[in-house]
Point group: C2
Chain length 170, copies 2
């Protein structure tokens, strides 16, 4: 059965690694639903988090192929395990009347969101949480008129103590 | 002078676009400091936000080369303009004693951060904001012992009303 998976890839912070990973996914026909890559606490190590979907055989292939890439330190499928997953979204919403603006601010507060900017009749909101929580919030405010949405990819870490998939483990 | 730039790329949500962008950066020797790609409000459009650095000539080249790619709808350099920029980090910190854990929670609260998980002597914190705000927070808690950090790439939207760089503009 096709399921969404969050795969974390620790890799050497070297030139061209992203191109190799993206090329691998593209060349083999694997899907990328979202991707984020950034430095970690160790300046020589980057972490990439890929949201993908496919049946079990595909996910196993992705894991094997990623592990074959030079510069890849560790691959972890965080989907089955007990992990904390977060994503951030900036959402620009139209609030023409004061009543609408107050409503939008109340909705954002109920999602522990923040108002990051107000300009004329546009409010920019910051909301974070699990991806489906962000989807729910978008549904809540879309009747006001959504101007723009910018979503980061997901990041995830294990809930289990001592179960860091970080380089310090290696 | 070398400066960090946040470049937003709206593109068709088609297979292989990420590989083409990553290949372009790699092939031409442009740096990628962080990258995030995700869907927008329009399911047919994705948004990629690339953090890169280089002198003005390099940034101009990147802009031109990205615009040449098929499937790229719009390229915006958000660095010079008045924009809201956000990033999210999950940070696992060691808190061995109750005193340490209370201190860490207080520090997180002072940054409007959240405690997302506590397991044995590990606390997982969620912090969001501008990248340098996240760097500052990491410095504040690193003396407790950082186990792991997972950072999303940046996302950014314009502060100016009506200045959305979204597809709806086109």
């Amino acid at each position: 059965m096709e399921k969404q998976h969050t795969i974390s890839v620790l890799m050497e912070n070297k030139f061209g690694v992203l191109a190799r990973v993206a090329g691998l996914f593209c060349g083999r026909g694997y899907n990328i639903d979202a991707l984020t890559v950034n430095k970690t606490y160790d300046p020589e190590v980057s972490k990439m988090t890929i949201v993908t979907h496919g049946d079990d055989a595909i996910i196993e292939q992705i894991d094997k192929q990623l592990n074959k890439l030079i510069d890849v330190i560790k691959v972890t499928d965080l989907s089955g395990s007990d992990f904390v997953e977060r994503e951030l979204a900036l959402i620009k919403v139209t609030g023409t009347t004061q009543k609408e603006r107050v409503e939008i601010i109340k909705l954002a507060e109920s999602y522990a969101g923040r108002i990051v900017n107000v300009q004329d009749d546009e409010l920019c909101l910051e909301v974070s949480g699990e991806s489906n929580r962000i989807e729910d919030f978008i549904k809540l405010v879309e009747s006001y008129g959504i101007i723009e949405i910018a979503r980061t990819g997901r990041v995830a870490v294990s809930r289990t103590a001592g179960a860091t998939e970080d380089y310090s483990d290696l």
